[in-house]
Symmetry: C2
Subunit: 244 residues, 2 copies
């Protein structure tokens, strides 16, 4: 993705500022981390023990730190971070509203599945962006071993009570279905981001669609990217003792 | 408070572990920070802008970091942090349940008043504890200039709409009234903590009451401590353009 073409999403815009796709990616990531922080913290009442509440707070604090780094990067790029986040407030809030966990285990599965699929998504999209963005995104979405801890907890719970497996598998399927549905909304509305996605989907971005919306070929590439994300999701379910 | 008497709340217990009053103080502080983290984060829906949500997350993240430090200290002292926090879950949860902010401004006033009075309280009580505890508590409750920022926000809002002053002053009075009421409950139930409080209230701790409950003279000293806290609270209200 370093062809130097004006539609190259990883290249700086003519004005010398960052490419719009990169601004979208960082705005999306910043709001995703901020709302993940608030939503995780909001699950405190579900946590069964003081110790679980403390661990939950630790997970949330990590999301805040990620938000802070991406926010800082946007500011350094000369972009208003709040404007960059704004387009993604609706879709991300909608995802969270439709996937409100009703139990501690549902909350754990949501944290694991949500972080996992989001991490894969950001990393793949960032592959098509500039080096600095790729490095920032890679650092922010690295899981620091906490994913394994969460997966082990769910696996233990399912081993203790095998009836949970079916219910939690359905829940995980709903989480990813709602995520892909919101991601499609975003891809259809944000042409520059869709171009980055298309790069991540395995074909060169750009083309002759202009700036009105993502072209059909971009959306095809986006679907291929989503298919890869779903495969990784299935592996993640198995790590929790669930089925895809 | 270094008389070496067995009832000296700053001295190590006979077993070589930390004094029970110190464990109580740190347990109280740890849970207060943890629940403040969750409650602050829970106000996200009240924040009027994305930028305000980000600042709120930053405030909450500071509370988490404080919790982490106190939790770590308890562990290092050989104390189970969750057991140390447990006695204070009821009173602190009750305070938060009775002081649920209904607007962004009420949330700001609560953060300012709550942090302020809690900070004064912890610092004064820690004066009677050992050096390490005093240093930890002082560091954890230092306000880092954010109190001034919050006070300025409220002052501006009240200057714009003077009708707010009466309502917010009543709100602040309720916050401190409920806090003192819960603190009395705690002081009556936790004899070792009450002894530390009595030290902070201006008379030596200990006496012949045994371990059944705080003696009347301790509770008198506690009341004097609360009177000083209330004076500081009034000064804080004035900083927000409110009356006591």
């Amino acid at each position: 993705m370093t062809t130097g073409s004006p539609t190259d999403p990883g290249a700086a815009a003519v004005s010398g500022g960052p490419a719009a796709g990169v601004v979208d990616l960082l705005g999306l990531l910043a709001y995703a981390e901020l709302i993940a922080f608030f939503r995780l913290a909001g699950h405190a009442d579900l946590a069964p023990t003081l110790s679980a509440k403390g661990e939950l707070a630790a997970l949330a604090a990590v999301e805040y730190e990620h938000y802070r780094r991406v926010h800082e990067r946007l500011t350094r790029l000369g972009v208003d971070p709040e404007s960059a986040m704004e387009p993604f407030v609706g879709p991300l809030d909608a995802w969270h509203a439709r996937t409100e966990p009703q139990s501690w285990l549902e909350g754990l599965v949501k944290a694991y599945v949500g972080d996992g699929i989001a991490g894969d998504f950001y990393r793949q999209v960032a592959e098509s962006a500039d080096d600095d963005t790729r490095e920032l995104v890679g650092g922010v979405v690295s899981e620091n071993g906490r994913a394994e801890v969460i997966a082990a907890r769910v696996r233990e719970a399912v081993a203790d009570d095998p009836k949970l497996a079916g219910r939690l598998s359905l829940w995980a399927r709903r989480l990813v279905g709602e995520a892909l549905s919101q991601a499609q909304v975003v891809a259809a509305q944000r042409v520059e981001l869709a171009a980055l996605l298309a790069g991540a989907g395995g074909r060169p971005a750009g083309g002759s669609e202009g700036a009105k919306g993502a072209g059909a070929s971009d959306l095809g590439a986006v679907s291929r990217l989503f298919a890869r994300l779903t495969d990784a999701h299935t592996a993640r379910l198995e790590a929790m003792g669930l089925s895809g």
